[in-house]
């Protein structure tokens, strides 16, 4: 069971909902720390225009989020659901309200983080000034500690709200949490009651001295102040990886974990030992090594694991993910009464969401079937493309193709990469001839003709 609906906080429309309050002058209750003041000057508003291929045509969407400048050379940390590789234009509003362009440096939906770089030539040319923030140690946070959320909710510049840390290790994993991409498997989240609204996404959660302890990313919509942030210690690690490679490389073995609470007796296990393997992805390294749903994972590389509670799962997942890709990992597994060591060679972790493109002349949006998608959906292999949208009345729609169909062959040619279908589409665009499409829906294979 997935947790109740979690809404990502990026405002797609700015609601001008201002309530007028009497403007009587009041003395501040307490002085704001110097660190906090400096932090305010590092928080930016991010306007993103991104391209979307989902309806069988190319569409642009605008959205707003927040971000925090991390360095003098203009690195900005925000959420992956604010700025993704689909962004075609990123505009940053600095704390002094000046606008400057930015480019995406790297992106990691698993932790919902993205890194941008300001157009520093422009910054220098115009002599623009900004401050940058420092990370704090998120492992030292305690429940009840005062924190501030800083950001630009609904585009309202420099909005500061105050609250406390409500929980230091909240667990939720979401298969489609970041614009349809997986998130939350490898880290727990900070929970706060500081008010978080659409547009706060990507802004910093800071302690009273102005140090960044988290990146605000989501909240329960309709609840009262149940907000969540990625811990700074996770973010710091991701930043160095994203600066270096533009992406984060993780290892994958293909197990779906589950907590062991209340089942220890049944499995004759001591308390606080092991993790239940709920299922194993078909065809994955773990499946090939003979692991099965219902097995208990006792140790990874001889390091004991303990997932009695769900909150303990991300650390174990992250430990496996942080092994080098292609390395052999030793899993100690209890299966019935026997305990055995298995060697599993890791693969590179992939999202189940492949690359998208739109084939305009057909009114067809497709997405490459990834290895992960093929396994989840028990497809024979990962060749083929998934239909993610058809434009009403266009040739693909007229032929009868629908979202969810998997196109396996075109003109009897298998589709190994997106380039194959793009090539056929390009040929069709210049000289339209009928095209034979073989597609699969659930387990049924049917033929369609795309024609002018």
């Amino acid at each position: 069971m997935k947790p109740a609906i979690l809404n990502l906080f990026r405002s797609r429309s700015i609601l001008a909902l201002a309530i007028l309050l009497p403007a009587t002058a009041r003395k501040a209750d307490a002085a704001v720390s110097r660190g906090l003041n400096q932090l305010f000057d590092s928080v930016v508003c991010i306007d993103v225009r991104e391209v979307n291929y989902e309806e069988g045509s190319r569409r642009f969407e605008a959205s707003i989020g927040s971000g925090v400048v991390l360095s003098e050379d203009g690195l900005i940390l925000t959420n992956a659901h604010v700025a993704s590789p689909k962004a075609v234009e990123i505009n940053v509003t600095l704390a002094n309200l000046e606008h400057v362009g930015a480019k995406l440096v790297g992106w990691d939906h698993w932790t919902d983080l993205a890194l941008l770089r300001l157009d520093m030539d422009d910054v220098r040319r115009r002599g623009l000034k900004f401050s940058h923030a420092e990370f704090g140690d998120s492992s030292k946070l305690y429940t009840g500690e005062t924190v501030f959320a800083v950001g630009t909710p609904y585009g309202l510049k420099r909005t500061v709200t105050r609250g406390i840390i409500s929980n230091t290790s909240r667990y939720f994993e979401d298969d489609r949490g970041v614009d349809g991409y997986e998130t939350g498997a490898f880290n727990t989240w900070l929970q706060t009651d500081a008010a978080i609204n659409p547009g706060n996404s990507g802004g910093p959660l800071v302690t009273e001295d102005g140090r960044v302890v988290g990146i605000t990313s989501r909240a329960y919509l309709g609840a009262n102040n149940l907000g969540f942030a990625i811990p700074a210690n996770v973010a710091r690690q991701m930043v160095s990886g994203l600066v270096r490679d533009g992406s984060i490389t993780r290892s994958y073995i293909g197990i779906v974990p589950s907590p062991l609470q209340d089942l220890e007796k049944f499995y004759s296990l001591a308390l606080d030992t092991g993790m239940l393997i709920a299922s194993v992805d078909p065809g994955s390294p773990a499946a090939r090594a003979g692991l099965q749903g219902g097995d208990i994972l006792l140790a990874v590389n001889h390091r004991a694991v303990d997932a009695r509670f769900p909150e303990q799962i991300p650390a174990i997942q992250n430990f496996i993910a942080s092994q080098p890709v292609g390395s052999a990992v030793t899993l100690t597994v209890k299966d019935g009464l026997a305990t055995r060591d298995l060697s599993v060679v890791t693969e590179r972790l992939e999202s189940s969401v492949g690359e998208d493109c739109v084939l305009d002349a057909w009114g067809l949006s497709v997405r490459k079937v990834s290895r992960a998608y093929a396994r989840e959906n028990e497809l024979a292999d990962d060749s083929g493309v998934l239909v993610i949208g058809v434009r009403p009345g266009y040739p693909a729609d007229v032929a009868g193709l629908q979202s969810g169909d998997i196109i396996t062959r075109i003109n009897r040619q298998p589709l190994g990469t997106l380039d194959v279908i793009k090539g056929i589409h390009a040929a069709y665009s210049s000289k339209p001839n009928p095209i034979l499409v073989e597609a699969q829906r659930d387990r049924r294979v049917a033929l369609y003709i795309i024609k002018p």
């Binding site: 209340d262 049944f266 299922s279 749903g293 219902g294 829906r441 294979v445 049917a446 033929l447």
Partner: protein, 460 residues
């Protein structure tokens, strides 16, 4: 007025013989209402259907959809027969379902038989007449049990004849109760009304690929009928056993029709073809060398006819298989890429069906387990054969099983930590657990969809 008179005169000889009241009185004796009980773990339901008497031994046929598919015959009980307009209860015996027509056969008790007239008494000698468009057709409707199944007249005119793939007449409005005969003006049998035939019609005409089926018609009456020349030769197909076996089986699954554009592209204009989505493991199709994505274009050298709508071709192939017997050779021509390939498949008796799976209800636990059969392996994309385990068939609401989260179709892999080896072993173990008064819990490892879950049933 004159014109009408002239027409009447022209139809003179027929008109004289068409004395509807007397035709009605004779023909109402070949129809009955049938009540039976479906007895499941948790409930008993009464079901009502209409039947047509087909011979002098008291054999009655019910239309194919009149019994829910997948119900094991032992859950069908207390077949009762009512004559139209009479409250008396007569008894019947269920004989099984014919694989080819889908009809269910029952047999009336001896005492009732003299009062029944087989529908064949009203069939034409020689070829059955095919009504013309616009010709009058009539049949019999039966009211509800509360009204003693009083018979009433339904009358209409033929509007259309199609092959679906059975030759099917569509009348302007409802013409008979589903499963009951349709006659022409002379009282000669011209068809058998299709039950859910009305639904079938809607399905064929209103269902898009993947679309929802919409039921727009009164299921107590039907405006569709299978033509007599097609139905009559099958009236004698009384199942040899209650299981309906033998069931000829090819194992080419997910037959998908093709539209005109595709057929023309493949140079199949004037005929039709069907894509085989999947070739099932250990099946005659697999042994014959058929591959998934092959396109069947001919059976025994005869190209597949073109149907309107196109999707009827899948049913046509299914019927071609079911009209044969296990052991028969079926020659298939398939298109694989640009090549035409000749295959020869020797049909087999179908593997054990879900409705034939052994099953047992465990009252203390609150669920029914059934044997893991071939179809279960296919549904789970496993190689058939040698798969242990049992499948959950029914979960009683609020029982320990239901509270633990057990669901129908869950595949039980382990019971109390030990793998399930066979159905018999699982039954023995579950029986022992249910009978043990000191037991407080039972742990099941189950697969549901792709996930595995450990469920704890709290007992007592």
């Amino acid at each position: 007025m004159l014109a009408a008179l002239a027409l009447f005169m022209a139809a003179g000889p027929q008109a004289r013989s068409a004395d509807l009241p007397s035709l009605w009185a004779a023909r109402v004796k070949c129809v009955v209402a049938v009540e039976y009980t479906v007895e499941t773990e948790s409930e008993r339901r009464s079901m009502f259907d209409y039947g047509t008497v087909v011979d002098s031994n008291g054999t009655i046929i019910l239309p194919s959809g009149s019994v829910e598919a997948n119900l094991p015959p032992e859950q069908l009980k207390d077949f009762k027969i009512y004559l139209p307009g009479e409250p008396a209860v007569w008894h019947g015996t269920y004989l099984g379902q014919d694989a080819f027509t889908g009809w269910h056969f029952i047999r009336a008790e001896e005492k009732l038989r003299p009062r029944l007239v087989p529908v064949t008494a009203f069939a034409a000698r020689g070829a059955a007449p095919v009504p013309a468009i616009g010709e009058e057709v009539w049949g019999i409707g039966l009211r509800t049990k509360e009204e003693d199944f009083l018979p009433y007249l339904l009358k209409s005119e033929l509007a259309l004849i199609q092959s679906l793939p059975e030759r099917t007449g569509t009348a302007l409005q409802e013409v008979s109760g589903p499963g009951l005969p349709v006659f022409n003006r002379d009282g000669v049998l011209v068809g058998l009304a299709l039950e859910s035939g009305s639904q079938q019609f809607v399905e064929y005409t209103q269902m898009n690929r993947g679309g929802e089926t919409v039921l727009l018609v009164d299921v107590e009456e039907s405006s569709l009928f299978e033509l007599a020349d097609e139905a009559l030769p099958n009236l004698g197909r009384i199942p040899a056993s209650i299981s309906g076996r033998p069931l000829a089986w090819l194992g080419a699954d997910g037959l998908e029709p093709m539209d005109r554009d595709v057929a023309n592209f493949l140079n199949l204009s004037g005929q039709s073809g069907a894509v085989v989505s999947e070739v099932l493991g250990d099946s005659p199709a697999e042994k014959a060398g058929m591959k998934g994505h092959d396109i069947i274009i001919a059976i025994d050298g005869r190209p597949l006819p073109r149907f309107r709508p196109d999707r009827v071709v899948a049913d046509y192939i299914e019927k071609e298989i079911r009209r044969r017997r296990p052991g028969d050779l079926m020659k298939l021509t398939v298109l694989r890429g640009p090549d035409r390939i000749q295959l020869s498949a020797q049909l087999k008796d179908a593997p054990k069906l879900v409705r034939e799976a052994r099953r047992e209800y465990f009252d203390g636990l609150g669920f029914t387990a059934r044997e893991f059969v071939y179809g279960d392996a296919i549904a789970r994309r496993l190689k058939p054969g040698g798969r242990p385990g049992v499948v959950v068939h029914f979960v009683k609401p609020n029982s320990p099983a239901a509270i633990a989260g057990l669901q129908p179709d869950d595949w039980i892999r382990e019971i109390d930590g030990a793998p399930v080896a066979t159905f018999a072993a699982a039954v023995e173990k579950l029986r022992a657990i249910g009978a043990d008064p000191l037991r407080t819990e039972c742990v099941l490892l189950v697969s549901h969809g792709g996930d595995t879950a450990v469920l704890r049933l709290k007992l007592r």
